[in-house]
């Protein structure tokens, strides 16, 4: 039976099709759109919150989407250990929903940034990254105006101590320098996971980096890791 991935569509999502197309390019995976008004994600192995501008980014990015009916199911399934990946606006929604700590605020430069960046994998034993070694550089596209990661000092220390920082923006030498930081994120943070390690949010778009012809295929590494994790979860449950 194929693995089933749910890609949640909010009004204003615009990377939902990228996510479904990327996931369906993997053998043994079926990705479906799930409208945000749905109330259940039963039968799905993993959940993707895609990028976009849910609810027009009104009030704050992700602030209204977090109250969509589907989010109760996302929170419930995340607590049960299901993999949840949020990219870009999906990351913002996960933070607003309290599934991930911190918040994403306006880029320090005030500019919308749209480019391919280098990110360094800080943690290679997460369910989303165990297909690659620690220190691996992933070239991934970003496209956001509000991707500056912020958390208070205590939260930031906990993120580091618990090895929850998965990705940092780095330069061509693999160093997280200020110049390599596209949005002013604290400590060049590009992606974090929760303490239980089954919820991962990142500003870059792995969904847009699944084909070398489009600039990078490095996003496949993240989806491959998720697929391996789901296979292991299924084997353990059988």
């Amino acid at each position: 039976m194929p693995q089933r991935f749910a890609v949640v569509q909010f009004p204003g999502s615009n990377c939902d099709q990228d996510c479904v197309a990327a996931l369906n390019s993997f053998a043994g995976v079926t990705a479906d759109y799930v409208w945000h008004q749905e109330k259940s994600l039963a039968g799905y192995d993993a959940i993707i919150l895609p990028g976009g501008f849910s609810y027009g980014d009104y009030l704050r990015c992700g602030a209204i989407a977090r109250f969509s009916p589907i989010m109760a199911a996302v929170i419930n399934d995340a607590a049960a250990g299901k993999l949840v990946l949020g990219t870009c606006n999906g990351f913002q929604i996960l933070c607003e929903a309290g599934l991930l700590p911190g918040a994403l605020v306006r880029n320090r430069s005030q500019h919308f940034v749209c480019e391919i960046v280098r990110t360094r994998l800080e943690v290679a034993d997460s369910p989303f990254t165990h297909g690659c070694g620690e220190g691996t550089i992933l070239r991934l596209p970003i496209a956001h105006g509000e991707g500056c990661f912020f958390a208070d000092e205590i939260t930031l220390r906990q993120l580091n101590e618990n090895r929850q920082v998965i990705l940092r923006y780095v330069d061509e030498n693999g160093e997280p320098t200020p110049a390599a930081n596209p949005n002013g994120s604290l400590e060049n943070i590009a992606g974090i996971c929760n303490r239980e390690r089954n919820v991962f949010g990142l500003m870059p778009h792995p969904d847009r980096a699944c084909d070398e012809r489009l600039g990078s295929g490095d996003g496949r590494r993240i989806f491959e890791s998720m697929i391996q994790t789901v296979a292991a979860q299924r084997a353990a449950a059988a």
Binding site: C95, E96, A103, V105, R108, Q110, D152
Partner: protein, 81 residues
């Protein structure tokens, strides 16, 4: 009844918008401007006959209208009369 809510970024949070406006004000002849912080102002009309309005508004200020990770809020109730 009217509720006024003011949402402001916490001191520790970068406010690049505010910094840009501060710079513009300094360039426009007010070098004494030291800092500008930009927030949001919401005016909310509420049916005054329902109970517990202020308490419920506070709850929504925390959950929806502001994000306590990055913002503070002030809620003020104003009677029409």
């Amino acid at each position: 009844m009217k509720a006024k809510v003011i949402v402001t970024p916490k001191a520790a949070v970068l406010d690049p918008q505010g910094a840009a406006v501060r710079d513009a004000m300094q360039h426009l002849g007010m070098p004494e401007v030291q800092s500008v912080r930009i927030g949001k102002y919401l005016e909310i009309e509420v049916d005054e006959n329902s109970g517990g309005v202020e308490e419920r508004l506070h709850s929504l200020c925390r959950d929806l209208l502001s994000n306590p990770v990055i913002e503070d809020y002030r809620l003020e109730m104003v009677n029409h009369a």
